[in-house]
């Protein structure tokens, strides 16, 4: 059974804040979802393996030098930028 502490822990791992007042209802809905996921517990998977869908193997290519996207184009999408860099403010 997934507990309130578990939910707090996975929220931290997921980098999500859960407001205190939502914690109980979130734990409840997570418990319901995990109970549903638990239905696979008694499935027999003895001797079955799965790797990937079309039996693909690594796709390799020559290491050729190609032009990159211009950094000013990329930076246009950044919420904050300074001197051709992404900007994250220092903790005051």
């Amino acid at each position: 059974m997934i507990t309130r502490e578990d939910v707090e822990n996975i929220a931290l791992l997921s980098k999500l804040f859960v407001p205190e007042e939502e914690m109980d209802s979130l734990t409840e809905s997570m418990q319901e979802i995990v109970r549903f996921a638990d239905t696979i517990n008694n499935a027999d998977t003895e001797g079955v393996e799965f790797d990937n869908i079309n039996n693909l193997s690594n796709v390799l290519r020559e290491d050729e030098v190609k032009p990159s996207y211009p950094s000013e184009e990329i930076l246009k999408n950044a919420p904050e930028q300074a001197e051709e860099h992404f900007l994250v403010r220092k903790h005051a």
């Binding site: 997921s14 997570m30 393996e49 799965f50 079309n54 950044a78």
Partner: protein, 485 residues
């Protein structure tokens, strides 16, 4: 005849110019989108500039490419250079990609006329389009009902005749389910048949781009043009798939159409009746109906949610407020900034799936959930392979019910997940499946059925779908909206 060929004949026959024709659609969007809420961005300038090019080409007497001059739309998770691509999430507000998805490159090179980007459940997570930060797209058959999800906007636009065709994405049914709810055609191609380059990732081992159209022929034309090997997607398959459009009208006498008994369990009566009536039609066309068991299906839904959420929790790790999209205003240090950005930027359903995904991948739970689900994926794939030893295609409902009323879908997460029970096994197994309309319920809302095929055998499922469309055209009904040809 499908709409794509008809429109191209109108254009080359001088009946209407592409600019005039495009303007009709843009006008219709202005009026009808207020209620349908299918479009989240309209690209008027882009559309008219492309239409102008098409007219010039026609004036020079040049032959048109297969999708040239056809007004269309893209789901808002398909990257379009310089055009906002938000996945209908606050966290990607304002994001304009600096490159095109391969599918959009293909269409753009053909001068397909992009009318705009369409509504979807946030990050394609949902079954009603209502988790969109723009509010849901409505069903053109009755706007008190949802369009379905997650590609609800594409389905609403196409069924509402404010786009001729659209591309959606299907991770667990997101093309087929809204196509079914809106009474139109939606194809989820074989995994690897269409490049995913530039599709904003939800669950990479399940995601696939495909067409939504009003006729089977149109779906075949669009699929034939977008199913191209792409070295920018390492899961793209380098197979020469022969054009599906050439074999649409092939005789299906003697074809074996399988019905898995499990697929009819728990399906609402009106849906079940429509599927069985379609099976009768197929018998009249000379096909053989074969009933069989597919017990592995009972694990498909939890397997899907475990794998999809695990992949999503990893894929959505990139949204940190630093490089693109939304960023929180007040924060104390980097960790706080990332947490606040994500908590404010993601909606509830996305957060739930990230949390579940993180849980099933975390130490102590990985083997019990993720690993076990992966192994079960192997079991489900094997079960379908065995089934296809005896049948050519599988006939199944697309959704166990018809479109829900607005606001009725989002209350209980697990109950909502159950609506995906017929569609998710196909993504798990990487198979192609087309949903086509096969009737209406007592409220006049469309019912859909899937025709599922072997890997890379889109030709057969579209052939089988086309034959049904020929004998049951009454199920492919126009709505009151949009541009009528």
């Amino acid at each position: 005849m499908g709409y794509i060929k008809k429109i191209q004949n109108m254009l080359t026959g001088g009946e209407i110019t592409c600019v005039e024709f495009t303007k009709k659609y843009l006008e219709a969007i202005k009026t009808d989108n207020k209620e349908l809420n299918a479009y989240v961005t309209v690209t008027e300038e882009e559309a008219l500039a492309t239409a102008q090019k098409v007219d010039e080409k026609i004036a020079r007497g040049e032959e048109l490419l297969p999708l040239e001059g056809v007004p269309m739309t893209l789901k808002d998770n398909i990257s379009t250079k310089g055009i906002e691509t938000t996945c209908c999430s606050k966290i990607l507000s304002g994001y304009k990609p600096i490159y095109n998805a391969t599918v959009w490159d293909i269409l753009k090179n053909q001068n397909a006329v992009l009318l705009g980007k369409t509504n979807m459940d946030e990050f394609a997570m949902g079954s009603s389009c209502e988790t969109s930060c723009f509010g849901g797209a409505m069903n053109p058959h009755n706007t008190c009902y949802v369009s379905g999800g997650s590609s609800g906007g594409v389905a609403s636009a196409v069924a509402g005749d404010i786009a001729v065709f659209g591309l959606g994405s299907d991770t667990g049914g997101s093309i087929r389910q809204p196509a079914s709810f809106c009474g139109i055609v939606g194809l989820k191609p074989t995994y690897g048949a269409v490049s995913r380059y530039g599709l904003v990732a939800y669950a990479s081992s399940l995601d696939q781009i495909g067409p939504i159209t009003k006729t089977v022929e149109d779906t075949a034309i669009v699929f034939d043009n977008i199913s191209v090997y792409d070295k920018k997607d390492s899961t793209s398959c380098n197979k020469n798939i022969s054009p599906t459009v050439d074999t649409l009208n092939k005789d299906i006498k003697g074809k074996k159409i399988g019905i898995a008994r499990e697929y009819l369990d728990g399906v609402r009566d009106d849906v079940k009746e429509s599927i069985l009536a379609a099976a009768e039609k197929y018998k009249e066309l000379g096909a053989e109906i074969v009933y069989f068991d597919l017990p592995a299906l009972k694990f498909a839904l939890p397997v899907y949610y475990i794998l999809a959420c695990a992949e999503a929790s990893s894929n959505l790790g990139r949204y940190d407020g630093i490089r693109y999209g939304y960023k929180t205003e007040h924060y104390e240090g980097t960790h706080d900034m990332i947490c606040r950005t994500r908590s404010e930027g993601f909606g509830d359903e996305v957060k739930r799936r990230i949390l579940l995904g993180t849980y099933v991948l975390s130490a102590g739970y990985y083997d019990a959930y993720y690993k076990k689900a992966q192994n079960l994926r192997g079991t489900i794939i094997k079960a379908f392979e065995d089934a296809f030893e005896n049948v050519d295609v599988i006939l199944a409902p697309t959704v166990p019910m018809t479109a829900f009323e607005k606001g009725k879908a989002t209350s209980d997460p697990v109950e909502t997940y159950l609506t995906d029970i017929c569609t998710v096994p196909i993504n798990i197994a990487g198979l192609p499946s087309v949903s086509i309309p096969c009737g209406f319920n007592s409220n006049g809302m469309p019912i859909g059925m899937q025709i599922i095929g072997k890997k890379f055998d889109e030709a057969t499922i579209l052939n089988v779908a086309y034959k049904y469309e020929q004998v049951c055209p009454e199920n492919f009904k126009d709505t009151k909206w949009g541009v009528k040809l």
